[in-house]
């Protein structure tokens, strides 16, 4: 990324440049859209939420006296007569990571003002997210069928069910909210709200393709969190 052009301001490279930007007037992050800066800070806060969840999970798993169920058995999928461990979760993860790829492409085409490509790629991302949520619903119903509940668990410690449903549920909510916004943004892109700088529905802020990048930041974050949840729940 090259520095933006700002009248009367000269950028410096590296740490000195950072110090200079910090010490300058008007903005600390030069040329950064307000909404984008806001999303970064929101994500920092959200990181703390997920960290609290995962640390609580580690503490809960560490202090329970009953054995934790073996994840490669609990999460296995019965396909063609054999139990394949982590099959569903591998597909889910693949889908979600792929949707991050399409999101990144959507951002690129957005900045190139390629309305159609951008819209289709956002739609593809939304469908990827929807698939993920669908597969998660499938996994939930499978576990519930087998008797796992937030308050009990036939395979071992009852905290397994509690933490699993709470944390994947909280993450799934994030994905679902993301999917809703992706559909809205796809609609707005196709309608040309960003090309024509139409004002938002409730605000006076003018439409701009940077909004797609902002939503992209959120989407990549949700992906990144999933990687941690995946590691902590399915691989530990």
């Amino acid at each position: 990324m090259s520095d933006p052009k700002i009248e009367g301001y000269e950028f410096k490279p590296g740490f000195k440049g950072m110090a200079k930007d910090t010490g300058s007037d008007q903005t600390m992050f030069k040329g950064v859209h307000w909404g984008k800066a806001m999303m970064w800070i929101f994500l920092l806060s959200d990181t703390f939420i997920f960290s609290c969840f995962l640390i609580s999970y580690m503490k809960g798993r560490g202090s329970t006296l009953i054995d934790w169920p073996n994840p490669s058995e609990v999460f296995a999928l019965h396909v063609g007569g054999v139990d394949v461990p982590l099959l569903l979760i591998a597909i889910m993860t693949f889908v979600l990571i792929t949707s991050s790829g399409t999101m990144a492409l959507a951002v690129k085409y957005g900045y190139e003002k390629n309305r159609k490509m951008c819209g289709w790629l956002i739609l593809a991302t939304a469908i990827g997210g929807l698939t993920f949520v669908g597969m998660q619903a499938f996994e939930w119903s499978k576990l519930i069928e087998e008797g796992v509940r937030p308050w009990e668990n036939p395979f071992g410690a009852k905290q397994f069910g509690s933490f699993f449903f709470m944390i994947t549920g909280f993450h799934g909510t994030h994905v679902s909210i993301g999917v809703i916004f992706l559909f809205i943004y796809a609609y707005k892109t196709f309608k040309g709200h960003y090309d024509e700088e139409k004002r938002g529905w409730f605000t006076t802020i003018k439409g701009n393709y940077v909004e797609i990048e902002i939503l992209g930041l959120y989407w990549h974050f949700v992906d990144l969190v999933w990687v941690f949840i995946f590691a902590f729940f399915y691989l530990w």
Partner: protein
């Protein structure tokens, strides 16, 4: 730092070196070069101007109106908290007069008083109230960067307060588990409000956090990305620094509260066992098992300790500005003050378990957390010294605002010193859960920030309403509150030393009774008087709105931008046609060589040539 100015001639006018009046008043080319400020980077902000009563005063997107809304609602909940404390004091001082109150009621009042005062009163008032009103004005922005989100933030807070107060009217009443809401007893039968009460409390907290996050993002981005031309971070008033840092803390600490509340609600509704160990109740083993109650304490205090500084840091910032303006002197060690705020904020995330010395955690934790806790005393003491040094040889105006400032310093030092007692494990263990703790935290984060709020109200009321509050009434208000608050909390230290435990409905036939009874009566009397004394302020405000002395522009001869708006009170958009351009910090008071004893932030260097202004 600001090397973009370097190649400009006349840059020296911004340094503390004196410029000969010849070159300053000489060629106009030199002058305009000295006054040069880089053009605006950010395009003008589009604002939604309300047309009807509803969009102007209720669902309003103007940060100033939102600030006043926050202020009023927080004050309203604060008054409820005050009435609850009266009821508690009635029971403790005169139990025979409080026959209507059962032990359950008492616990519920304790709990609600604590939660209301800390979260819904102080936090909302400092960040939502003062933050919204002052940040855009002080950094020279037209409004918060996301006005719509800002409006939603207030209405989330409104709903959160509604849910909280609704818990008074549900079966079983509000939760009575203490404001710390420690499980397992919080959600077990036998604790008052263990049904709907605790659930509504958790929901209300979650809503509060969600609403606050929206507001907090606004405050942060406005400070970081929407300052006016010439306004560097190190030229911001300390008020903005305090609120800014507190908001950063809130953004990182509230997540722990959110997670704790959510897990507690699930333990209650779904019967999960996050915090619930195996429990034997009335000879019966409950369904719960395997959870960790200490986990909740860690989550709660990871929020709870930064929360103390979320309240304290804005107070530190505001008091610095008030002292500087009313002592007519620059704040002593501005940069040190900024860094102290930042360091206190950072350290506050490493001290939380000093609230848990008696929780049964590993003793080595106590060693670590006692050390980090005592380290906080260093930047805090620096701040106190700097306030005192600001007063030293200042041209002090001993008005009501200054009285509140002095009251704050004394109270804060007092509460801070008892904090050093409680930070040490060996001293803390015998004092734990006694009135000493009550005295400590009420002094340091109850009364001290309250003094700042009061000072700030008297200071900024002329800006918000355009009229001065009455000084005589203000002095009555101050002395009754200050002496009264000391009469309440000073004896409590003694009660703590003789071992009177906190959160006890009554003392029964314990040996404390003889020496504690008289003192409890005295404290209760003082509490009634102090509470009633707040009516003076309300009367003063109502009276002033009608017949107060008009204040006009910049009545305190202050330097910071909020006093320099074209109209008083400022209108939506704050600045009229053109945004202000900042040339200096807001503390150029009593500058040698200057015509007046203050140089506003917008005064260009060419106008003050020949004076010894600070280089900022």
């Amino acid at each position: 730092m600001s090397d973009e100015y370097e190649n400009k001639k006349g840059y020296q006018a911004q340094s503390s070196e004196t410029i000969s009046s010849g070159s300053g008043g000489g060629g106009s080319g030199t002058v305009s070069d000295a006054d040069y400020v880089r053009p605006s980077e950010v395009p003008e902000q589009d604002l939604y101007h309300g047309h009807s009563f509803i969009t102007k005063w209720i669902f309003c997107q103007d940060a100033k109106v939102i600030g006043v809304q926050y202020f009023l609602l927080a004050t309203f909940t604060g008054i409820i908290g005050l009435i609850l404390s009266w009821l508690m004091r009635l029971q403790l001082g005169f139990p025979e007069a409080a026959g209507f109150m059962t032990a359950e009621h008492y616990y519920q009042f304790v709990t609600m008083h604590g939660m209301i005062m800390v979260v819904y009163f102080l936090t909302a008032l400092f960040l939502g109230g003062f933050g919204n009103y002052l940040i855009p004005l002080m950094v020279g922005a037209r409004d918060m960067v996301f006005p719509y989100l800002n409006m939603v933030s207030f209405w989330m807070f409104f709903i959160a307060v509604g849910v909280l107060l609704a818990s008074f009217f549900v079966p079983g009443g509000p939760t009575g588990a203490g404001w710390t809401l420690y499980p397992p007893q919080t959600i077990l039968e036998g604790t008052p409000g263990s049904g709907m009460g605790i659930l509504l409390m958790c929901i209300s907290l979650i809503l509060f956090v969600a609403g606050f996050t929206m507001g907090g993002l606004n405050y942060l981005i406005t400070v970081l990305q929407a300052r006016t031309r010439g306004m560097t971070l190190m030229r911001m008033p300390l008020t903005v620094w305090g609120i800014f840092t507190a908001t950063v803390l809130a953004m990182l600490a509230f997540p722990a509260l959110l997670v704790g509340s959510l897990m507690m609600s699930l333990d209650k509704i779904l019967g999960t066992s996050f915090f619930m160990p195996t429990i034997l109740q009335a000879g019966e083993v409950l369904e719960y098992g395997g959870g960790s109650p200490i986990l909740f304490q860690h989550l709660f205090w990871f929020f709870g300790h930064p929360e103390v500084y979320i309240v304290a840091l804005p107070a530190f910032g505001i008091i610095s500005d008030l002292i500087s303006v009313h002592a007519r002197k620059n704040i002593f060690g501005y940069r040190m003050m900024v860094w102290a705020i930042v360091v206190i904020g950072a350290l506050s995330f490493f001290v939380w378990a000093h609230h848990m010395y008696v929780s049964g955690m590993n003793p080595w934790f106590g060693f670590f957390f006692a050390t980090t806790t005592l380290i906080i005393a260093i930047p805090t003491a620096m701040k106190v010294y700097n306030w005192v040094l600001t007063l030293w040889r200042g041209n002090i105006r001993l008005n009501v605002v200054m009285l509140w400032c002095l009251g704050f310093i004394v109270t804060f030092v007092n509460g801070g010193i008892t904090g050093i007692f409680l930070g040490n494990v060996t001293v803390d263990v015998p004092l734990s859960d006694t009135y000493f703790v009550i005295a400590h935290f009420h002094m340091v984060m109850g009364i001290a920030p309250l003094m700042v709020i009061m000072g700030a109200v008297y200071h900024w009321f002329p800006l918000v309403a355009g009229r001065f509050l009455d000084e005589t009434l203000g002095k009555w208000h101050f002395w009754l509150t200050f002496l009264g608050a000391y009469s309440i909390y000073f004896p409590m230290h003694y009660l703590g030393f003789i071992g009177v435990p906190r959160r006890y409905f009554e003392m029964y036939d314990s040996p404390y009774v003889t020496s504690a009874v008289g003192m409890n009566e005295f404290i209760s009397m003082a509490a009634f008087i102090v509470g009633a004394a707040q009516l003076i302020l309300i009367y003063n405000i109502v009276r002033t709105l009608k017949i107060g002395k008009p204040a006009g522009h910049n009545p305190w001869q202050a330097n910071s931008l909020e006093w320099l708006t074209p109209s008083v009170p400022p209108e939506h958009g704050n600045w009229g046609e053109k945004l202000p351009v900042v040339h200096r910090w807001p503390y150029d008071f009593s500058v040698p060589g200057a015509k007046e004893d203050f140089i506003t932030q917008t005064t260009p260097p060419s106008e003050v040539a020949g004076t010894e202004v600070e280089k900022t």
